[in-house]
C-alpha cells in the first residue's frame, strides 16, 4: 500500500506548499508595501481608516481563512482517503 500512501502524502504536501506560499506572499507583500509604498499605505479610505490598517486587518483575516480552508480540506478530503487506505490495509 506504500504507493497509495505516497500519493496521499504528496497531495497533502502540495496543498501545504501552496498554502504556505500564499501566506508568505500575503505577509511579505504587506511588509513590502509598508517599506516601499509608505505614502499610499498612509492614505485615508474613510475617516479613521487608512489603506495600511485595512491591509493589516486583511492579513489577520486571511490567516484565519487559510487555516480554516486547510482544516476543512483535511477533515473532508484527506481524512476520507486516509480512512479508505486504512480499511484497505486491514
Amino acid at each position: 500500500m506504500t504507493s497509495s500512501h505516497q500519493t496521499l502524502a504528496a497531495a497533502r504536501w502540495r496543498i501545504a506548499i501552496v498554502l504556505t506560499a500564499i501566506v508568505i506572499c500575503i505577509y511579505f507583500g504587506f511588509i513590502a508595501l509598508i517599506a516601499y509604498q509608505k505614502e499610499w499605505m498612509g492614505s485615508p479610505i474613510a475617516p479613521g481608516l487608512s489603506v495600511g490598517i485595512l491591509f493589516g486587518a486583511i492579513v489577520i483575516v486571511a490567516s484565519w481563512l487559510l487555516t480554516w480552508f486547510y482544516v476543512w480540506w483535511a477533515n473532508n478530503h484527506y481524512d476520507a482517503k486516509l480512512d479508505a487506505l486504512k480499511r484497505e490495509a486491514k
Binding site: A9, I17, Y27, F30, I31, G42, G48, G52
Partner: protein, 524 residues
C-alpha cells in the same frame, strides 16, 4: 532607569501603578492558589513519562488550542504591542500581524507530521530515520538555546513589570515566578502546565476583551471612530507607517524570524504530543490561530484606546518603553480594582509561558540527551521521569539566577534571538527530514549547528549587541535580526551536506516514515 521615571510619574499622574495594590495581590494569590490546586490534582495523574511530557495524550483539540494560545501570548505581546501601538500607532500592527502569520505555517508544515512521527520532542521526528545520537545532540542544543534566551527575556521582563505594577522588589518577583513555575512543572508535568496555560489564556483574553469593550463603548462601538479620534488628536501619521520601518530589510528579517520561528519553538511543538491524534493536532492549531488573531486585534484596540484616553506622554512618563499602556488604560477605565486585575493577569501570563519553556527544555535534557544518547534508549524504569524532574528543577534555578544576573539589562532582543534560532536551527532540519528523501544525518546536523552558531554569531556582531550594549559606534553586521540570512543559509547547508554525504539507512527509512506520517501507526 525605571525608578526615577516612576516616582516622577506617580507624582504627576497620581497613578496607583507601582504601589502595593490590595486588589492585584488578591487576584494574584487567587491565581496562585488555583494553579497550585490544579498542580496537586495533576500530580496524582502524573506517574509515567507519557503523562509527564504529554499529559497522557488526553488533551482535547479545543483545550490544546487554548493552551497553545496561552503558551504563545506572552507579556511582551500583551503589554509590548499595546504599548507600541499607543506610542507609534500603525507601526504596532506590523508586530501584531507578524506574531500571527507563523501559525498557518505551523499548521501546514509541522503539526500533523510531528504528532504522527514523534513521542515527546521534535528531535523524535528527526530520529525516526536519522542516526539517534548526533541529531538528538544537535536538536537539544537548538532547543536549549531557544529556551534559555526566551526564559531570560521572560524573567527579566517579568521581574521589571511586576516591580512596576506591584511594587515588589525585582529579586522577589523573579524568585516567586521561578518557584511557582518549578512547582507546576515538577509535580504536575504537562497536565498541570496545560491547565495553567488554559486558565491564563482565558483570563488574558477575557481581560483584554473586557478592556477593549470598555474602550469601544466610549466610541459608539466603532473602532474607526476610535482611530479617527487618534488621528485628530495626534495627526494622521498615527494611521500610517512611521519610522519604525526605517530599514525595510530589518523588518523583513524580523518578519521571517517570527513566521518560521513559531514552527520551531520547542515548547509550542511539544504541545502537539498532548492530543490523541493528528486530527486533534490539526484542529488545535485552528483554534489557536483564531484565539491569537482575536487577541492581536484586541491589543490594537487597547493601544489606540490608551493613546486617545491616557495619552502617549503620560504612558511614556511611567515607562519609557510604553509597556504600561494597557495597565494605565485599565486604571483609567475601571479604577484601581481593574488595574489590579490586569496586573495579576500580566503576572499569570509570565508564569504560564516560563512553565511551558522549562518543561520543553527538561524534555530535551532528559528524553533526548539522557535516555536516548547517554543510556542509548535503555534507561531503567522510572529513571527518565526522575531525570526529567531534576532537569526541570535545574533549568528553573538557572532561569532565576540568569533573571537576577541580567537585571536592568536590555534583553528585548533575546525574544527575537530565540525566534531567530528556532527559525534557523530547528525549523529547516525539521522540514528537510520530514519532506525530503535525500536528507542525511550529516545534513540535518550541519543545518542545526550552522543555524544555531550562525544566529548567535551574527547577533553578536549586530547593532543590538555592539551599539546598544557595548556602546560601539558601528556594528559589523547591519541587521538587528539575522533571520533573512540564517534561514536560507541553514536550508542550503542542510541540502548541500546531504547531497555530499550518503546515509543509506535514512534514505531507506523514508518510505516507512511517509507511511507513519500519514497513518499515525507509530503514534497509535
Amino acid at each position: 532607569m525605571i525608578e526615577p521615571l516612576l516616582t516622577q510619574a506617580t507624582a504627576a499622574t497620581a497613578s496607583a501603578i507601582g504601589k502595593p495594590n490590595a486588589v492585584a495581590m488578591a487576584f494574584f494569590f487567587f491565581f496562585i492558589a488555583v494553579t497550585l490546586g490544579i498542580t496537586w490534582w495533576a500530580a496524582r495523574k502524573t506517574r509515567t513519562t507519557e503523562q509527564f511530557y504529554a499529559a497522557g495524550r488526553s488533551v482535547t483539540a479545543a483545550q490544546n488550542g487554548f493552551a497553545l494560545a496561552g503558551d504563545y501570548m506572552s507579556a511582551a505581546s500583551f503589554l509590548g504591542i499595546a504599548g507600541l501601538v499607543s506610542t507609534t500607532g500603525f507601526d504596532g500592527l506590523i508586530y501584531s500581524t507578524g506574531w500571527l502569520v507563523g501559525w498557518p505555517v505551523v499548521l501546514f508544515l509541522v503539526a500533523e507530521p510531528l504528532r504522527n512521527l514523534g513521542k515527546y520532542t521534535f528531535a523524535d521526528v528527526l530520529a525516526t530515520r536519522l542516526k539517534q545520537a548526533p541529531v538528538r545532540i544537535a536538536a537539544a542544543v537548538g532547543t536549549l538555546s531557544t529556551v534559555i534566551f526566551y526564559l531570560i527575556a521572560q524573567m527579566v521582563g517579568g521581574g521589571s513589570l511586576i516591580k512596576l505594577m506591584f511594587g515588589l522588589s525585582y529579586e522577589t518577583a523573579v524568585v516567586i515566578v521561578g518557584a511557582a513555575m518549578i512547582a507546576y512543572v515538577i509535580f504536575g508535568g504537562m497536565l498541570a502546565t496545560t491547565w495553567v496555560q488554559i486558565v491564563k489564556a482565558a483570563l488574558l483574553l477575557g481581560g483584554a476583551a473586557a478592556l477593549a469593550f470598555m474602550v469601544l463603548a466610549k466610541f459608539g462601538m466603532n473602532p474607526l471612530a476610535l482611530f479617527s479620534a487618534a488621528s485628530t488628536k495626534y495627526g494622521a501619521g498615527m494611521l500610517a507607517p512611521g519610522k519604525l520601518v526605517a530599514n525595510p530589510l530589518d523588518t523583513i528579517s524580523l518578519g521571517m524570524a517570527l513566521m518560521f520561528g513559531t514552527a520551531g519553538l520547542p515548547h509550542i511543538l511539544m504541545r502537539f504530543y498532548t492530543v490523541p491524534d493528528a486530527k486533534a493536532a490539526r484542529k488545535s492549531v485552528f483554534y489557536a490561530t483564531g484565539l491569537i488573531g482575536f487577541f492581536y486585534l484586541l491589543t490594537f484596540i487597547l493601544g489606540f484606546g490608551a493613546m486617545v484616553l491616557v495619552g502617549p506622554d503620560a504612558i511614556k512618563a511611567v515607562d519609557k518603553g510604553g509597556n504600561m499602556a494597557a495597565p494605565l488604560l485599565a486604571e483609567y477605565l475601571g479604577g484601581t480594582p481593574f488595574l489590579g486585575f490586569i496586573a495579576a493577569v500580566a503576572f499569570a501570563t509570565i508564569l504560564a509561558v516560563v512553565a511551558g519553556l522549562t518543561l520543553s527544555g527538561a524534555a530535551a535534557l532528559s528524553h533526548d540527551l539522557w535516555t536516548s544518547v547517554v543510556r542509548k534508549g535503555e534507561a531503567r524504569p522510572g529513571e527518565e521521569l526522575k531525570v526529567a524532574r531534576g532537569a526541570a528543577l535545574v533549568l528553573g534555578v538557572i532561569a532565576v539566577v540568569l533573571g537576577i544576573v541580567f537585571k536592568g539589562q536590555n534583553v528585548a532582543f533575546m525574544v527575537s534571538l530565540a525566534f531567530a534560532i528556532a527559525a534557523s536551527a530547528n525549523f529547516p532540519a525539521l522540514v528537510l527530514s520530514i519532506f525530503w528523501r535525500r536528507c542525511t544525518t550529516q545534513g540535518a546536523v550541519a543545518s542545526m549547528v550552522a543555524g544555531t552558531a550562525g544566529t548567535l554569531l551574527l547577533i553578536w556582531f549586530s547593532p543590538v549587541i555592539q551599539v546598544d550594549i557595548l556602546k560601539h559606534t558601528t556594528a559589523w553586521f547591519p541587521l538587528k535580526n539575522p533571520a533573512v540570512l540564517t534561514i536560507p543559509a541553514s536550508f542550503m547547508i542542510g541540502i548541500i551536506v546531504s547531497l555530499l554525504t550518503t546515509d543509506d539507512k535514512a534514505v531507506a527509512g523514508y518510505d516507512g516514515s511517509v507511511r507513519d506520517m500519514i497513518d499515525g501507526r507509530r503514534a497509535a
